[in-house]
């Protein structure tokens, strides 16, 4: 893989990556629809500043897990501890307001709006000015728009999407849409960023770009990242820790090297060992 060099370079720079406290703890989560159990008694922790990958075959419950983390699904049982507060289920609004942002497996952009507006929409929780000021678009409301615009412009610069600011996102090619979606999540200034297959359907070059963004984000802003990805090369290269799900159960949890050597994982997912 081409990005191996860059990762090595990074590792050389910071040989020991250290992480903060546990920011999110999923405890004995169970999710089901009717008679089907999508997630069965899964627990794991996310530490501040780490890049955690969740992998597993299709239907293993990975997306359902992300949906639990930001409150779109309510677990049948188990608990979620986020920033020291334990709850039975997350509320989507609470999650967003407290720094959980995400991207989606099938792009979920606001197709009728421009790139800029999509990113600005990521800022709605940061904007508080009341309705009347907004009617007038003047005074505090205008000031607020401009402050948030300035922040959004930083994200636009970071992702290098200046040229498509005013383009309706429905017209953008797939790879750029993925990038705009990442941008929208970044505009929320998240503490934890959930990425659901950020590199699915991308070519090698686009994957490199996306990996670069993920690593830069983590390094520059200290954003904690939880990602689902099928490209094992990417997962093993960029993540600090890997959780493996299979049929809704957790079968492994450890560093990429540990997971790669884990017999259960090899049987269930990787098939043949990658190296020996």
């Amino acid at each position: 893989m081409a990005e191996a060099e860059t990762v090595e370079a990074m590792e050389a720079e910071a040989p020991e990556r250290t992480f903060g406290e546990v920011v999110l703890k999923m405890d004995s989560i169970e999710v089901g629809f009717g008679g089907v159990k999508a997630i069965d008694n899964v627990s794991f922790e996310v530490r501040r500043g780490e890049i955690l990958a969740i992998i597993g075959p299709n239907g293993a419950g990975k997306s359902s897990m992300l949906n639990c983390i930001n409150g779109f699904y309510k677990p049948r049982s188990g608990s979620i501890t986020f920033k020291g507060k334990t709850m039975k289920a997350m509320d989507p609004h609470y999650a967003a307001a407290n720094g959980i942002a995400r991207t989606f497996q099938n792009i979920a952009l606001f197709r009728g709006m421009s790139t800029l507006d999509n990113l600005m929409t990521g800022r709605v929780l940061k904007m508080k000015k009341n309705f009347l000021w907004q009617c007038l678009y003047w005074g505090p409301a205008q000031k607020e728009e401009i402050e948030n615009r300035a922040h959004v412009e930083k994200v636009i610069d970071f992702l290098d999407i200046q040229a498509i600011r005013r383009t309706p996102v429905g017209r953008l090619p797939y790879g750029l849409q993925k990038r705009v979606e990442l941008g929208r999540a970044l505009a929320m200034e998240p503490d934890i960023l959930l990425l659901d297959e950020p590199m699915a359907g991308m070519n090698v070059e686009e994957k490199q770009d996306m990996s670069r963004f993920v690593l830069d984000l983590n390094e520059e802003f200290g954003t904690t990242i939880v990602l689902i990805e099928h490209d094992m090369g990417v997962v093993m290269d960029i993540s600090d820790r890997v959780v493996v799900l299979d049929y809704g159960r957790k079968i492994a949890d450890g560093t990429p090297d540990e997971v790669r050597a884990n017999k259960n994982v090899i049987d269930a997912y990787l098939g043949v060992p990658h190296e020996d």
């Binding site: 629809f33 997306s63 949906n67 779109f72 989606f104 497996q105 099938n106 979920a108």
Partner: protein, 313 residues
Amino acid sequence: MTLPFEVWFFFEVVLNGLFTGTMYSLVALGFVLIFKASGVFNFAQGIMVLFAALNFVGFIEMGLHPLLAGAITIAIMIALAYAVEGLVLRHLVNQAPIILFMSTIGIAFFLEGFGEFIWGGDVHALDVGIPDGAWFVGDMMIQQFDVSQAVIAAVLVGVLAAFFTYTRIGRALRAVADDHQAALSVGIPLNQIWVIVWAVAGMVALVAGIIWGARLGVQFSLSIIALKALPVLILGGFTSVPGAIIGGLIIGTGEKLAEIYGAPAFESLVEATTGVDSISFGGVEEWFAYVLAMIFLFFRPQGLFGDRIIERV
């Protein structure tokens, strides 16, 4: 039997409501057919009832035999199905449901104008020889017309059920209703299916139009009455044929009861509390169905028989 007159009257009201309900069910049935097969919420179904009836009565007034008139009207409804598929639906594939819905509002307006442009906007009387006498059971009067109408509706539902269960086209229709993509991938021609359901819905509309036309005369207000199929569907669930039937019966009965018993009760209540009399609250029928549906939506958005929706991202 020696029941008091009030009880007989109550039975009569309920029965009356049930008969009206079968008519709503017939229109709702057309909606369900199209919705299941194409995911299009066909606002024009009500107007199709009017349009079919207008054509039918128009040909009869020209002196044609009712059977011939019926045959020509069926041909027109089939042609309409082709036109709708070829001129509208085909160009709106993959659009948001709400866009498709609005396009059927456009179709509705076009058909209404077109039908009246050709046949004129007057009320047309329609007599197709449905018996019009009355039977008495105790003190309860049963219109023979109502009974015939219910029988016709029941037969129609039976025929449709058989068509869906036993024919090849019926199976294909059910497959399409289940999953468009999967149906396409096993070689079911989607466009042809659409034409077929619209044609079938057109024939259902014709039956509904004939019965209603014979009762009320063929006129524009038919389409307003036909709009009540919408709340019927909300009660019954958009994808369920039994739901359409039972929903129709509930709404038909409910609005009759509300009109006959609810409105006067409310009038006397107002008179007792405010002292203002001579306020008439008649016409509850106009809105009862919609408000009932709206309240119902709070508790069971998927309808009595509809499928529960699991959302995914």
